[in-house]
């Protein structure tokens, strides 16, 4: 059993699933559409990781590939980003409109992915060894072209939103735990995006490693952002704060 192509994706899946459950528990307590959507996004992350691990352990399966491509490659970033949209966009109507667009786009994407022709042999073409799942297996034109739009939308919202929040807190010098948490979330969201790029360039293991690190950083960022730093510890490390 290969660590990078089998164990690591299953670990990513487990971390994401625990994260999703934690976010949903928060949704049950505090409500907020952003919690619900972040939970959905992390569930998609977990599905993607599971499919990658399944492929590493048991080999090709068209249903597993389609599930991986739809949830792990196409939708995960967009749904996480939509959660941030609900958190940061004050005009509810705009957030709902974006949600409706995403929903329609996701259904269209699902139909395209589940009706696409596949050829697993294409995954080992060019620089790719075939040991990792790759969208190259999709033969039908126009399906893979959709993915960058979803990912760009999600990554810009998720990373941009987290960075913007961190900047606001940093500027006012308040809530250090939220500043650090948002930086971790931004970096965690960037990692799989870059992993996908490196994977396209043929660097083996880049996608799975970056997905694992991304899941861990997103989880750590969420925990950091939602857990205030004890006042005593904060003022001990920053004596000037206590004086002001």
């Amino acid at each position: 059993m290969n660590f990078v192509t089998t164990v690591l994706p299953f670990l990513s899946s487990a971390v994401s699933l625990v994260f999703a459950l934690l976010v949903w528990r928060r949704f049950m307590r505090k409500r907020g559409a952003h919690h619900l959507l972040w939970g959905m996004g992390m569930l998609f992350y977990a599905i993607g990781g599971f499919c990658e691990g399944y492929y590493g352990a048991l080999g090709w399966n068209p249903l597993i590939f389609r599930l991986w491509y739809l949830f792990g490659a196409m939708l995960v970033a967009a749904w996480l980003g939509q959660g941030t949209a609900y958190l940061l966009i004050r005009r509810r109507g705009l957030a709902h409109a974006l949600m409706a667009l995403l929903l329609v786009g996701s259904i269209y994407g699902a139909v395209r992915v589940f009706t696409a022709d596949l050829d697993p042999a294409l995954m080992s073409g060019g620089l790719h060894t075939g040991s990792e799942l790759s969208g190259r297996a999709i033969v039908t034109p126009g399906v893979r072209t959709l993915t960058p739009f979803f990912n760009l939308y999600g990554t810009v919202l998720l990373v941009g939103g987290a960075a913007y929040s961190a900047w606001l807190f940093w500027r006012k010098r308040v809530l250090l735990h939220r500043t650090i948490g948002n930086v971790l979330i931004a970096v965690g969201a960037l990692l799989p995006a870059f992993g996908g790029t490196f994977s396209r360039l043929g660097i083996p293991g880049a996608l799975y490693i970056s997905e694992f690190l991304g899941a861990v950083l997103l989880f750590a960022g969420f925990l950091r952002a939602t857990t205030p730093i004890p006042q005593a510890a904060e003022s001990a490390s920053a004596p000037q704060t206590a004086a002001s």
Binding site: T145, P148, F149, N151, L152, T155, V156, V159, G160, A163, A166, W167, W170, R171, K172, R173, V174, L176, T179, I180, V183, A186, V187, L190, A193, F194, T197, R200, L201, E234, S237, A238, Q240, T241, S244
Partner: protein, 52 residues
Amino acid sequence: MKTRFRRFTSRPASRHTYPRFWEKAIPVFLILIGLAILVLLGVSLAVVLGWL
């Protein structure tokens, strides 16, 4: 809009500060994150145009 922007940018900085490390590290991280987003935008454009 202009007024709101001016009010936003001219707001006096807080007298509070973060621990020294975070005070300096956060803006560096944010700049790097901003640059990374720009790179991703470029890569996505390249993918859509079929260059990658």
